[in-house]
Subunit: 333 residues, 2 copies
């Protein structure tokens, strides 16, 4: 019979220690973690970014990744969006009684690989077990610390009339991938875009203070993130519908399912607002990278209609793009 | 009808924003959080402690606290045990569809009060919603950052033969309180000891390098924590059974339930190992504080039987105290 997680893996005693040793210390071997104190002791420079996310995605294994990869990418990408260099992660697991140890191993492998790719160390953690029927296989929380890069100052208040809106690649892939893999609606092979964005943000932040704000448009998609930029501000954002990069498969799936890729989640894309004068240079730099080969300028900042996000339709009209206000798909991250 | 959490509170769109605004921004008002970026930007000194814990306690409201208070105390206390001054917390919620908004409000109040008491700011967060039957009302993760105090150096490698073992107060109250409140076994009024330990650790750390290690004996209790100190080391710890502070109610409950207070969880106690020469001074300082009025020297470090924890029984013998290896009670934190 396959080994499974039992309640005693969460008792804080022998079985918890053994699980942590076997599953994590072997994989995340680093001097901060190995001390196994109540927390990790770290040396950082004076200005840091601090972020957290919990991951409850269903299914836990999907085309292009799993909950382990996602839980590293999610927090690493948030730290990158703050203009920081991600350095340290905490990892906290809520395991459901009955989870296969073989599945947990796969997830631990994936966390370890993704952390290596993103250049971060897992330095502290926690494991809890909940009884069957009170979880869903595994929920993961990561929190992370990044060191702020010098010469970078990001914020909504720096956005100006005339600035350009850049997306680092095709929109909506993660959300559509999960929707398709969960429901088996039709035959498709759309992988999630889940990836750590270190190289992509480096390419953008090379332009220093000409970069106004970065955000990864996850839940709620590009439309919701742009609304978070404009809400209550004295500018609007106008998108050019003909410039929005959408993969053909994603477009077909969205048409069939009646969803809008502007609201579909991404897990490997950056939305950036930058000065107009360097926007083309950034695009040409981004297109040299594997993870942003089809980056596009998709819109610009305007003074009129302040507080709003508008779409210049390919048919000529303008329509307001609001925040997500319906349930497109629960538990995509 | 009472308002409840629905799946759309987790979609990342309008309802998520409104929930966060109403529930948290109003309570945790601080300049780092209010920016609502992908993470918080913080100024810290060069050496920090970083810790995380997820809380899955059942029931979420208990005698002496609730999951909100516990989730602040848990991480704050871990940061204190590292010899740091807790400064910043992240707060990540996994809400189950159907949770009463009124319950979430009570928990948010409790987080806010406890954070104030412990001197920490909630600076970044996340909210996810899982469908009914895939959670248990609410799970909370907190991660925290503390600034290391100068002149403090804590670690197992600093423990020496002759050092004394101190507990800041009665043992096992949290575990027994939860067990009783969950099962209504018999009429009892044992409150959890859940509290932030800032003052208690300050009183101990005043003695600088004479303090060897601090730990809060939560899951697995005092017995398990002491084994984590001795495991693989060249010393043992001997406890004096007649010195172990155990409240009368807790003792009675433990006798009836057949559990050992040495293995029962604490959420407001410090276990410290300190140089013999200042142990009495620390005890007299601790006894002046409300949260450690019955602190005791409960044992000492010896050379013989290295790697083990032993109990000098009131009846004269010595017995080995191992790590928790059975399921005393699941989901106590």
């Amino acid at each position: 019979m396959e080994e499974i997680i039992s309640m005693s893996h969460g008792n804080g005693g022998k079985k918890t220690s053994l699980l942590i040793e076997k599953m994590f210390l072997s994989r995340f071997n680093n001097k901060e973690l190995n001390i196994l104190g109540d927390g990790a002791i770290l040396n950082v420079n004076g200005r840091i970014a601090f972020s957290t996310d919990s991951f409850v995605i269903d299914p836990i294994f999907f085309n292009g990744g799993d909950i382990g990869k996602l839980s590293v990418c999610g927090t690493v990408n948030d730290l990158l969006m703050c203009g920081s260099r991600p350095k340290y992660l905490s990892l906290s697991l809520i395991l459901e009684e009955g989870l296969l140890l073989s599945e947990l191993e796969k997830i631990a492998d994936s966390i370890s690989e993704t952390a290596k790719k993103a250049g971060v160390y897992v330095v502290t953690g926690d494991t809890k077990v909940v009884d069957k029927g009170h979880g869903h296989k595994i929920y993961i929380n990561t929190a992370g610390i990044g060191e702020l890069k010098d010469g970078i100052s990001l914020g909504r208040d720096r956005i100006e009339n005339g600035d350009k809106v850049i997306i680092s690649g095709s929109m909506g892939n993660h959300g559509v991938s999960i929707l398709c893999s969960r429901n088996n609606f039709f035959e498709t092979n759309i992988p999630s875009d889940c990836t750590p964005l270190n190289k992509v943000t480096d390419a953008i932040l090379k332009y220093g203070e000409s970069v106004k704000i970065l955000r990864d448009p996850t839940r709620g998609g590009v439309a919701t993130t742009l609304n978070e930029f404009t809400e209550g501000m004295k500018f609007s954002i106008e998108l050019y519908e003909d410039k929005l990069p959408i993969d053909k498969d994603v477009k077909t799936a969205c048409d069939l399912l009646g969803i809008d890729p502007l609201y579909s989640a991404n897990e490997g894309k950056v939305l950036a607002i930058v000065s107009a004068d360097i926007a083309d240079n950034i695009i040409s730099d981004l297109r040299k990278l594997e993870d942003s080969y089809n980056a596009e300028i998709i819109g610009e900042v305007k003074a009129a209609n302040s507080g709003k996000v508008l779409l210049n339709s390919i048919y000529g009209g303008k329509r307001i793009i609001d925040k997500l206000s319906f349930d497109q798909l629960p538990r995509i991250c």
